[in-house]
């Protein structure tokens, strides 16, 4: 049987801001249908790595191949294979939700007749929101619209940058369910998060990144099993039972980052 192509291949990625080396020689691959989490303290290089994958940042060196398309050589093809929800996504506040969906449907070359638009709004439980402006929606509703737009064109790879930050527990749970649905539909997802609960709940594999470098990549349970005896991890543990958060603190340290 032919081996399935990796959905994302990042090799030797280096990103600089002036003289600051933000991402240091990072390499990883994403397999079809997996949910991959990028975890790290503030300023660790998560968003910079995602921004490079999205094509928003020009890396100093390294290659990024999305769905078989090199981001440097075929950026439009690579971006067409991506569905993106940015950390600070905003849409024109003057536009209504239906108009924003129509705009992005046009941009991604997706036909959007009225019944399809109604179906999308129904699927995100916003049937009555077509004529509402984006700014009038709650945080959870905005996230749902944003995710619906990110997946309008049935992308191979979906990138979610801290998708649940600022959401209440109900909205967060709902978003996790949507991620599962996306995975069942065959999408591959990469997300950044500060929530260990989220990483354990939805991610098949996670990478812990700090000071611009990947420290470890594995499944959440394997990481717990591997580092269970590590003194730094044991000392980070608060209740005796080792959790993913203990592994994270043990590997990245207890110092608060700015």
């Amino acid at each position: 049987m032919q081996e399935q192509m990796n959905v994302l291949e990042v090799t030797g990625l280096n990103v600089y801001y002036g003289s600051f080396h933000a991402v240091k020689d990072i390499s990883f691959t994403l397999r079809p249908g997996e949910i991959f989490g990028l975890l790290g303290p503030n300023g660790a290089g998560k968003t910079s790595t995602l921004s490079a994958v999205e094509g928003l940042l020009k890396p100093r060196s390294g290659t990024i191949v999305v769905a078989g398309f090199d981001m440097k050589e075929k950026p439009r093809h690579a971006r067409a294979a991506l569905g993106v929800q940015l950390q600070f996504t905003s849409f024109q506040p003057e536009l209504k939700v239906g108009e924003i969906i129509q705009l992005y449907a046009g941009i991604y070359g997706v036909a959007m007749p009225a019944d399809k638009l109604a179906g999308i709004l129904q699927s995100i439980k916003l049937e009555d929101a077509a004529d509402k402006k984006f700014g009038q929606l709650s945080g959870g509703q905005q996230q749902r619209v944003s995710l619906a737009i990110a997946t309008l064109h049935n992308p191979t790879l979906v990138l979610l940058d801290e998708p649940t930050s600022g959401l209440d527990p109900q909205s967060r749970r709902q978003l996790w369910e949507r991620m599962e649905v996306l995975r069942e539909k065959g999408h591959t997802i990469i997300l950044t998060t500060h929530s260990m609960e989220e990483a354990e709940a939805v991610c098949d594999r996670i990478a812990i990144i700090d000071h611009g470098a990947i420290l470890v990549i594995d499944t959440p349970q394997s990481l717990i099993d591997t580092y269970r005896e590590n003194p730094a991890v044991v000392s980070a543990s608060r209740r005796g039972k080792i959790t993913l958060e203990d592994v994270f603190i043990g590997l990245t340290g207890e110092t608060i980052r700015s």
Partner: protein, 249 residues
């Protein structure tokens, strides 16, 4: 794996439709930019009699162009950049130039609408009529002048990241240009300032618009003003594009 790459024309059409809707819904600034020159024209009835229709019309169109380029364009770009709207568009398979081209197309439409409104107000209120060639040529010179001020607006958003600072700077430059341009033109601020203002972005734009209204009187000085205006537009656009950042984070 296969992906669907939409045609550039289809992407541009989607962007333009959204940008036109945004412009239309920003009614307050939309009306302000278009109505201020018309109100000035109405209040200048006596000046029309003394200095002529071409002077009044060209002054009003120039004031409108400054407002479109400095206040309308630069502020909307600064706000959308700050809110991350451009970044969201740029992660889609959209050529960056088409995002800006759509914005500029909306502003060029505003320039044509402004010119038309000033002509209509001039005709119905001050009974100013121009030869057909004058009307047509003025649309052309208004676009040149508009490009100059859009370029200046681009310089402001290129050099300044904060949207509030862009807002205050563009207002300051707007009043500076209009006050120095108008008072300088009349010689109130002295002969030196008069010469400077005549060849300033305000003076050259006003000159080519005024001369374009009466094409038979177009002379070497008008050609020189046209070339200077094109030069300003090229320099402002070049600096503005070079310095522009899509993200201010």
């Amino acid at each position: 794996m296969e992906v669907n790459i939409p045609k550039t024309s289809a992407v541009f059409a989607a962007l333009l439709r959204a940008d036109l809707t945004t412009q239309w819904r920003n009614r307050r600034s939309f009306v302000l930019v278009l109505l201020v020159p018309v109100i000035i024209l109405i209040s200048w009835k006596d000046i029309v009699d003394k200095l002529g229709g071409a002077f009044a019309l060209s002054s009003c169109i120039t004031i409108g162009l400054v407002a479109i380029g400095l206040m309308g364009y630069s502020n909307s770009i600064a706000r959308d950049r700050d809110k991350g709207i451009f970044q969201r568009l740029r992660v889609a398979p959209v050529a960056s130039w088409s995002i800006m081209a759509s914005r500029l197309t909306v502003q060029l439409m505003m320039i044509l609408l402004l010119t038309l409104l000033v002509f209509l107000a001039g005709f119905y209120i001050d009974h100013i009529t121009l030869p057909v060639a004058g009307y047509l040529f003025t649309f052309f010179t208004a676009i040149i002048g508009g490009i100059l001020y859009l370029g200046l607006g681009q310089v402001i958003v290129g050099l300044i990241q904060n949207p509030e600072t862009v807002n205050s700077t563009s207002r300051l430059v707007y009043f500076l240009f209009i006050m120095v341009g108008m008072f300088g033109e009349f010689g109130i601020l002295g002969e030196k300032v008069k010469q400077i203002s005549l060849w300033s972005p305000y003076g050259t734009v006003k000159h080519i618009i005024s001369a374009g209204m009466e094409p038979t009187t177009w002379n070497n000085e008008a050609t020189m003003a046209l070339l200077v205006a094109i030069g300003y537009a090229a320099v402002f656009s070049g600096v503005g594009i070079k310095k522009f950042k899509w993200n201010n984070k």
